[in-house]
Amino acid sequence: MMSDWEVVIGLEIHAQLATRSKIFSGSSTAYGAPPNSQANLVDLAYPGVLPVLNAEAVRMAVKFGLAIGASVAQRSVFARKNYFYPDLPKGYQISQYELPIVSKGSISIVLDDGAAKTVGVTRAHLEEDAGKSLHEGLANASGIDLNRAGTPLLEIVSEPDMRSAKEAVAYMKKVHTLVRYLEICDGNMQEGSFRCDANVSVRRRGREKFGTRAEIKNLNSFRFVEKAIQYETARQIELIESGGTVVQETRLYDSDKHETRPMRSKEEANDYRYFPDPDLLPVQISKDFIREVAATLPELPDHKAARFAREYALSAYDAGVLSASREIGAYFEDVTARLGTTHAKLSANWVMGELSSALNRDNLEIGDSRVGPQALSGLLARIVDATISGKMGKEVFETMWSEGADADAVIAAKGLKQITNSGEIEAVIDAVIAAHPAQLADYRAGKDKLFGFFVGQVMKATEGKANPAQLNELLKKKLHSGS
């Protein structure tokens, strides 16, 4: 039974750092260039060339370390990881092994039931990416593209703290949010800028000892992480329950077949023979440098969410959604500042509701929104001052979105002005009541549901322009007054 088992998950996330040039050479890191057009002699590992560390990559790693409350090593060391592969021109990858730049941090996540959980980050270290092997369109040959070789990566290694695929996804999303907040990674998963390996094992509930783990390599979407872990968990449980044992191995997730498969054992039977790279000096980081980087840290997501909840009286959920990216938070705060803090909830609802679905529909980032914060606050101001109803607002928003006009212009052009004159509304109510004596009698006899019927009739007669709050109040009075 699944419920007798507990899954234990640790993630190794590879975040490509958003430096302009590579970690040990001056080549560009821009994505999508023709094969090998961004590989210089250092990237190609020509005889005699030497690596020179990109200081920007170090700064970014320090930024991450500070953001997760980790300790930043005053001295960290690059090591060589030795193995032969055509996409690894030097025959070794420069990485950090015994002395990483960042260690012992933590990241908090919120689970589905609203509970918070802290996931430990064992370490984060700098390393270079390898190139890519290309097979398409090449008959009886493999191509090598070394544009990616030497791209800086921050490998973020978690503790085995996660207990479900969902927790793993929540953690990965949180790291994704964080690296984008810090502007150290573009987070583009299609281009491989943010990917992870998942270490998965199972144990009988209540046992302390971890089971044997399998490592699932190269997962480049949140959905694949979830599916791959679910599959792997079920596979391991089934295997053990049917008398088998899990072997420690590297597996690949096939998203088409939804299964994990072992990689050829040859490729993992490596002794990497790590040793300190004699071409690079240890990275020395001064306290002054750490202070300098700390001063550049933006407000972090957890802090922002807490502040939103406090300053704008929002629920933890709303505050969390609105702080998911710096851009969303800034948009929300801009709208709210224009509208007044007392209307923060209205502003939050619109940013998370209409705006967000329009962005999703057109596949746009909030920075490219067709309705900017100023325009949206203009619209919300008309709802606040009761010129239009919330429902009318949605119609106005759609027109603003498609035509780029401002709210007042759309309201005027459509003649959408709300009826807020009590006398006018009362007159319509009187006419509706007079036209529906049977419903009136039923209502008064206790069929409360018919209240909605009367509201509908009035709205129909006013083409939806009656102010809903006023209508409710006046209708209630009228329906009861005659009895």
Binding site: P47, N82, K90
Partner: protein
Amino acid sequence: MLHTLSIEELGRNLGSGQLSSVELTRHFLARIERLNPSLNAVITPTPELALGEAAVADRRRAAGETGPLLGIPLIHKDIFCTDGVRTSCGSRMLDNFISPYDATVVARLKAAGAVMLGKANMDEFAMGSSNETSYYGPVKNPWDLTKVPGGSSGGSAAAAAARLAAYTTGTDTGGSIRQPAALTGVTGVKPTYGRVSRYGMIAFASSLDQAGVLAESAADAALVLQAMAGFDPLDSTSVDAPVPDYHATLATPLKGLRLGLLREFFEGLEPRNAALIRDAIEVYTALGATTVEVSLPHLPMSVPTYYVVAPAECSSNLSRFDGVRYGYRCSQPKDLMDLYKRSRGEGFGAEVKRRIMTGTYVLSAGYFDAYYLKAQKVRRLITDDFRAAFAQVDLVIGPTTPTPAFGIGAKMDDPITMYLNDIYTIGANLAGLPGVSMPCGFIDGLPMGLQLIGPHFGEGPLLNAAHQYQQATGWHRRRPSGYE
């Protein structure tokens, strides 16, 4: 004769207009053509390129430019990448490799107006002490063609001794400049680790490799080192410290110089060798130096330490030679593994393979601590020993090699005996210290070397002491017969 003049004298002749760089270059090219076939010191002569560079140097001089190396011909060890010229590193692996760029050492000397006559033979990937591991065959010692010139900079040493160029470049990982300089009777300088850029110098053991110069005298070497040395942003291990004027301090009197006699260097030293060193010490005493006996207790462990550290680094450094992007590729590989195995198996020679295997072994899981880590600890102890010694003395003096040049083929089947040839030179590499070897006499008609080792960045005092000795003795002016 032009090839007997010092760099300074040649510079004066070029400056006065008595001599052009093209004439001087022709002179050396003619010597290479006549003398090199029996020596095999130069494996890639570049006469056309040299004459072109000489003509440029003459034009630069005519335009008013001066400089001690402007228009002076040299030969580069084939470990330095030279743009557009084959850079083989003495290996079949790079027999077809035309470098697309210049090493920093090459670029700096080029900027100073040096004229490259060609590339010098060397032990394959600088691994060897006799120049017998070269894919291009052994180099002969100009003092006796049946003897080795030492290695790995054997071609550079033989070329300097036979005066095929005004000076040559070399590299020293465990004695590869000083040992061949000693065995061929020339002056060899191995600078402090980090003093000269390693960029473009094909790596053998990155934490030990250092580029230097082989020339007739310390005075010539000082002029060349001046142009080679200095920080290079392309080499993270090069040191960002100003380069003093080495030539300016050559004449400083040695009065009060404290010379350290290393007990470990003299224990068991062959009597004739010991006598030569004692003579040299007397010369220094006469020049005003005092002597102090010092001990480096961990120095006897330098050879085993070196033969862990250097192979470990080389096993990784040489992984890039995989037949994929450049260099030797086996014919008709069946698959990737076959491509790797045969390209490397056919492209590398026996000594290189021996060291790659040793290095792979000492870095392997289960052996790393016992070998690599322990070697690093001993290396630290040797460095500390030297540091303690330099608190008492200014320079350390001793022999460069245990014996004079040995016969070609004599030690090839016995790597351990071959390795022990570097017993006096390896310490300076492990500690990153500068060292000089210069001729101090003969045993059985073969030149012997006197070694001076200085503290970090002590090149100035080292060259000063070497120059004073040379002024007082003249051993460095002896030339092998047939090459006068």
